[in-house]
Amino acid sequence: MNSIMPNLYPASAEIFVLIMACVVLIVDLYCGKKLPGIAFVLTQATLVFGGVIVWLTADAHVALTFSKMFIDDLFGDFMKIAILATMAIAMTYGRSYLDDRGLNKGEFYLLALFATLGMMVIVSANHLLVLYIGLELMSLSLYAMVALRRDDAAASEAAMKYFVLGALASGFLLYGMSMIYGATGTLQIDEIARQLAYHAANKTVLLFGLVFVIAGLAFKVGVVPFHMWVPDVYQGAPTAVTLIVGSAPKLAAFVMAIRLLVGGMFLVNEYWQLALLLMASFSIVLGNLTAIAQRNVKRMLAYSTISHMGFMLLALASGVIDGASVADLRFSVLNAYSAALFYTVTYVLMSLAAFGTLILLSRAGFDAEMLDDLKGLSRRSPWFAAVMLITMFSMAGVPFFVGFFAKFSVLEALIQADRIGVAVFAVLMSLIGAYYYLRVVKLMYFDEPVDSTPLVAPTGLRVMLSVNGVVIALAGIAPNSLMSICALALGYSL
């Protein structure tokens, strides 16, 4: 048996995060009482240095290691940095919130680190089982984080729902993977693509597997009809956890979709494009219409997530144009998938800011989560009302905010793929969606504050939220740089 030492260099960031997670565990255990902030500091250091390691080891060369089960490419590096940065921002936002509620324990940071590690493994997976292990590491950590406030009935219910449905989705995914293995004889993602290209795989078994894989994927992204968990989990989890559940995992799920559908099963795209298109359309309708009826901001943002993820899937589903030449195909595929990536990244930025504002408005003994809590924010804090304004305008897709450009590039991809009907439908639905985003702005600027307690959030949160708002505004003024980074990162991997 050949058992030479694998090349560990491409996985150095993951190894670093794993070692640091163990270090945080032990250090918090023995020094947590004396130095209460140690877990937070170590976690932030891990996330930052992990990002630095990814940055330093990034190159255009695609490296495979661990018997070709692990892939390190520029797309993966970009996504890992995005995930690490998102987690670091989320940790900064969540700290005071957790502190006030007695949840600021080492375990929270530990679970966050393991979830991060899981996401990094998903990003670098070139093997269905590695992907699955990464996914489980991420999901199990998230289930536990949702249940962190364990004496709270809503949080326990949310965690239970998330866990049971998540386990079901994992089962779907595994079953689909076994079918794909049955059809192609391999679990390695690039090998699956090769088998489909050069050997006649059994189509019935393959498509059977594909359907299950898409179902598992749709659950993790949270699109109709696998969206049931999203509102309950967003509402029931502590806001600091909702922030994490609603941000970084979306990036990981996006990579999962790219690796599985584009990397592995591109040749059967006519089938999965149709499935994605259907799920996306239903998500946009359900998300936008149901969000209008919500009084709870977290629940409203949950439905907004469903519709945003639907929008992202629209772009993923319009890469291939019927009857295009190979050169045209490469262009349209890159164009559509980088639109989807751009959409996901900007969505994550916006959702961080939105939940960050909710944390800003919360204080010890009070969770800001109803729409009424946002009333008159402009009088309480003009600056943070402006940050929320930018975020809401951007989510609604008002021109010259970054969300507009994200929606624009998705629509462009749709029109290129000759799906003009779907594009018109998506525009109409986002017009309906604009109502509930603009309602938030109206409440902040034109209503009297219900509660005029001064904001007590610490400096770290204020600075980070301000930076987040400024980044969203800047990305809206100059979206090209972020867009070209997205295209560049994907271009090296497709």
Partner: protein, 144 residues
């Protein structure tokens, strides 16, 4: 000509396999011992009970039908709420039990996988030890 059930099973599977593009017959060869094992297992479980029911004399009386012929009557239903600590212990047990199960195949092929295999397992155990230290120091192993 006498075709046994085996023959028809093969024909049926070949037909089904052709639909799915799989060669079941080769696969079936590998699974034959397992099939035999299942059949023998089921027979071993059912036969004594069946024989007992058919052959044994049957003269019930109230004493014989009571739960035990000695000791106490049952106090209450066994379906009660257990202390949550049982589950904690059970989960920890499963965790470390699986670790041992993982060690067996490793030990069998240790000669072939050499020092790399040895250190890979050492790393795995080291990570588990970190978890073990954590649960111990957190008091998950203390009953009171």
């Amino acid at each position: 000509m006498d075709f046994g059930i085996e023959h028809w099973l093969c024909v049926g599977l070949r037909h089904h396999g052709a639909l799915l593009g799989l060669n079941y017959i080769d696969m079936l060869d590998n699974y034959l011992p397992i099939l035999l094992f299942i059949i023998v297992g089921i027979a071993f479980g059912i036969a004594p009970m069946l024989l007992g029911r058919l052959l044994a004399p049957n003269n019930p009386d109230p004493e014989k039908l009571s739960a035990y012929e000695c000791g106490f009557e049952a106090f209450e239903s066994a379906r009660i709420k257990f202390d949550v600590r049982y589950y904690l212990v059970a989960i920890l047990f499963i965790l470390f039990d699986l670790e041992i199960a993982f060690l067996f195949p490793w030990a069998v092929v240790l000669r072939e996988i050499g020092w790399f295999g040895f250190w890979a397992m050492a790393l795995f155990l080291a990570i588990l030890v970190v978890g073990f230290v954590y649960e111990w120091a957190k008091g998950a192993l203390d009953w009171e």
